[in-house]
Symmetry: D2
Subunit: 334 residues, 4 copies
């Protein structure tokens, strides 16, 4: 079976998925939709697909699956619309900034039986997959502590931050998902601290740029997440799992393996700076996993519930910072 795709939204991430779909055996890019005609045309021309409106796509018999790459506040409505049409749905995270809205949306998905995958690209990074495989193979024994150091090279523009739902929902959300994935047990309580250290403008938007979070499960496993919106040396992405038998870690990716030694010492280049470059293999693997799930009728590796739970942890972390206390996941989930 060839999965016939339409992409909703021709922005940066839409283009990434277009490229990945075009390069994947068993998938075909049929149509692209974007209110900005030039953006849609660019994708249409590059990959030889139709340009249609979202409503036209909804009415298209030759589309099996959609990739939702539109602004966040449209995600939940689009998921519901296409779920009711029986299309398979790949949706960029987050489903919505509100836990209640996500929950309602997932109910619709459940009622319709639609296939939904929420995009958490990091689970598809080859290095992180190797960590997860080592953990699942019992190489570190029982998981005890997950350590995630995740720093962006620089903060997004103020306009983006305003609509982002804040650092926990926008940036840490990826780390919450990775932590859940690696802990192998649902999180029970959340403690977090937040500061504004890189740019006072971020504080004016009532957001943070430097946060640390401790997650704890019912059995006492812990994860620690350390985020900053600034890392001058590149996109710092480290994960580590400590267990009863040992520890496994994935390292960073530098621009090259070059090492220069001179009278000042040894120098290596900075880390890959841009998330699309750092996670280019991950984006390809992610869409391939969705295609495989649609083709086989199997479960998607990341689900609507994964999207919901990462958002719940984000809300719990924000509440912890604001209230200076440990917040239970059950307080947020209700």
């Amino acid at each position: 079976m060839t999965v016939r795709f339409a992409i909703l939204g021709a922005g940066r991430i839409g283009q990434t998925h277009a490229r990945a779909i075009a390069a994947t055996a068993g998938a075909k890019l049929v149509a692209i939709a974007d209110p900005v005609a030039a953006a849609a045309q660019k994708v249409g021309k590059s990959y030889g697909c139709d340009i249609r409106t979202i409503d036209e796509i909804a009415a298209s018999a030759d589309v099996d699956a959609v990739a939702i790459c539109t602004p966040t506040d449209t995600h939940a409505d689009l998921i519901e619309q296409f779920a009711r049409l029986g299309k398979s749905i790949f949706c960029e995270k987050p489903v919505d900034l509100s836990v209640a809205r996500v929950s309602r949306c997932l109910e619709v998905v459940e009622q319709t039986g639609a296939t939904l995958m929420v995009g958490f690209n990091r689970r598809f990074d080859p290095d992180f997959m190797a960590v997860k495989a080592a953990v699942d193979a019992g190489k570190v024994g029982d998981v005890e502590m997950v350590t995630i150091i995740s720093r962006d090279p620089g903060a997004p523009p103020a306009d983006y931050i305003k609509r982002s739902g804040g650092i926990f929902r926008d940036m840490t959300i990826h780390d919450f998902d990775v932590a859940r994935w690696l802990l192998g047990e649902e999180v029970h309580s959340v403690m977090a601290a937040g500061s504004v250290l890189t740019d006072p403008e971020i504080g004016k938007l009532d957001d943070y740029d430097s946060v640390n979070v401790i997650l704890q499960t019912a059995s006492g496993r812990q994860a620690i997440i350390s985020n900053s919106r600034r890392a001058t040396y590149g996109y710092d992405q480290r994960i580590e799992v400590l267990g009863s038998k040992g520890m496994v870690a994935a390292g960073n990716t530098h621009e090259s393996t070059l090492e220069l030694a001179d009278a000042k010492g040894y120098a290596r280049p900075p880390l890959l700076n841009f998330f699309m470059q750092r996670y280019s293999a991950a984006y390809g693997n992610e869409i391939a996993a969705f295609i495989a799930a649609v083709a086989d009728g199997g479960e998607t590796p990341t689900t609507g519930r994964d999207g919901l739970m990462a958002l719940v942890l984000a809300e719990a972390a924000l509440a912890s910072v604001k209230q200076g206390r440990s917040v239970l996941v059950s307080e947020i989930l209700g």
Copy 2:
């Protein structure tokens, strides 16, 4: 000036200091005291010094300085006794397990004007000193986040744990001191989570073996400390400082630089396993710094107040775990 030393306590750490004093120009080991005659004799023979009781040492005109290496519950009394005698005092951490007792002891020290150094060996590790020097030289700009991953190879015996004051006062106390040193600003509030994951016996003693701590200063700088009582791969000691301009880190020390590559991959030996081996240079530097301070009449690089503040952070962390909330340093210090 040659600083004439007596060591109180001929156990493992007393022997370490004996060796360091004997090897340091400008110092002379005059006497050793220990209730266990064999232990005292061993040191006496190895380094050619007298064996005296603590009271005899207190009465000795040929002793300028004492190194207190006795059990913790004797530290504060001995500090006060020797401070009143005008001796210079090097005391192993902690001064006492009670903040109140430490505070009273430090008042005595202050009144007598005695020189007191509390032993925080890590500040004297060459790699950690290189990190601190880089921070002080402005290499990372303004300090934003300190990350300390500190894991013991294995837990001490239950008997030791019982008298230790718990993981925060016994193990994390070193990391609290390192965090204070590197943050460059006093800690304002503490959040911590604790679990029992490596050995249920530790839980029966009402202690934890796996803890994570977030420290925050008034200006928003943060430090994160991750501790475990078990690391199968050796004594894991990593520190990292993120600042506005960059990041600086000290790495671990392996048993050797050997790397073996075969069909299974690349293999390096475990980390140095024993704290005395890992910090052997640090112990030498530490006692040399004390000797220099006594000889010059200058300030000691680690002070009674450093001992007090690390203990305060330990109490705050314990309160945070117990109460599930952020605890202010001022709540503990009073």
Copy 3:
């Protein structure tokens, strides 16, 4: 201008170039030729190109350039045939196993003015390019020594070795080219030693599996090349340049950045094992460089002369092993 390609030979390397051409903007794969119909059809179907014979391709007006991926003993004839037809030519190394034959072939190329690029993929590896760029930027000062450690995971089959011209012409030839590229000065003399250590069958074919070579230029710069046909830990590819101001090196590429630590120590995965995987980016960059040269009418980054000189060094090395003496390049070139 779009460069319209035909590929001669649909084997492993022909398929690699087909994929690269199909993925490169400004190039179009028009036809594939292979005496094995199934092989040609596979490429034809995957990339939607015609299947033609070599003679049909020679007669095709819609072909601007050919990639010669046929057996080595056909390369020189095909280069001459297509050079006379005015086609641009990309040819896999080596042009021929005989220096005299290569020289005659290059004369034809020169007379016809045809564009010829000989494929030395390593010059297009991003890490090696970073080394070259650092050298060219003067980061190491004047080049003094080039060190190349290059080991194959395992030997090719006896049948392949028989037709290969021996290890120097088949395997070391890549390192000779890299050495010339990095030395920045033509080689003057060659010393080499050869052994049979991994498989006595290789010795029966009068070949070696373990060789070391020292190259020296007129000004005294030296390069050292160390080859083995066996490296259990993967495809070992290291280069290093020492100069008056410092040293620059490119490291190996492991299967992932994963590091596992347990009671046995720290373990990383083996190196990428397969040359197509290790140099996948290089193959893409290489064909893109050829396309750019054809489109712009400029010089190709690797030339027929590069192919010739690497072969000359191979012959000199072989003579050095056989005769136990330093061999001058001028002895071979005539």
Copy 4:
């Protein structure tokens, strides 16, 4: 048994051994001799030993062993003198610059049955010992290739070079010994190339500053040695052994484990620059091994023959450079 020592020569290396002997249980430094009174007095005062002339030491009943740290041209005579007196002898490399003179000296040693150890400090470096132990334990299978990259931070003064016997006898001699040790089979033939690249003054002394050597054993094992008298980034000391099952390597030692990351990339400090610092543990282990051999009456780990064979390889390498051919060890040994 306590081994009672006299040291002949109070220069840099004599002081190093004095310190090591003083710190080793089972050894006692009795006397020091040096024609420069101040040098002898410094050692005498630091370690509380007598100052005697060499002849007085020869006549001393309270001396069991001597460490010969005098200029090279006195070594052979002193070895013979003390061998005839029945003293145990530790002698710094080389025994002499002439193979014939060394051979005669070793005959005297053999006749007298004296214990002689020639100082090759690198065999006692903990990291190199770990490599050797891995090889001996069969971790890499059958040894095939030894790779030694050994670069001094800078050339010694012209005066030193004049009397040194040239780079092969002075610097490479250490690598020859390490190669013999790791190859596990005697060297059969030598090829070498030499250049003057770092300082034309070295060329005026008819010496080289940049050399590469290929050693081959009868069974075809090979070692490659790459030397330079200049490495701006510190004292570069790498060894690697490739075998049928894998590869083992020892890495360099940096000034600290510090890594600094900023917008320019990742930076580590240079390598330890000074051989006494780099090999400080080796010097201690070396003298301890000698003391153990003397005390136990066993064989020394490095012998007079080791000293001879390293010198033979040096002469063979020099002949190879001068004559542009492979030189057999048997040509030099006679």
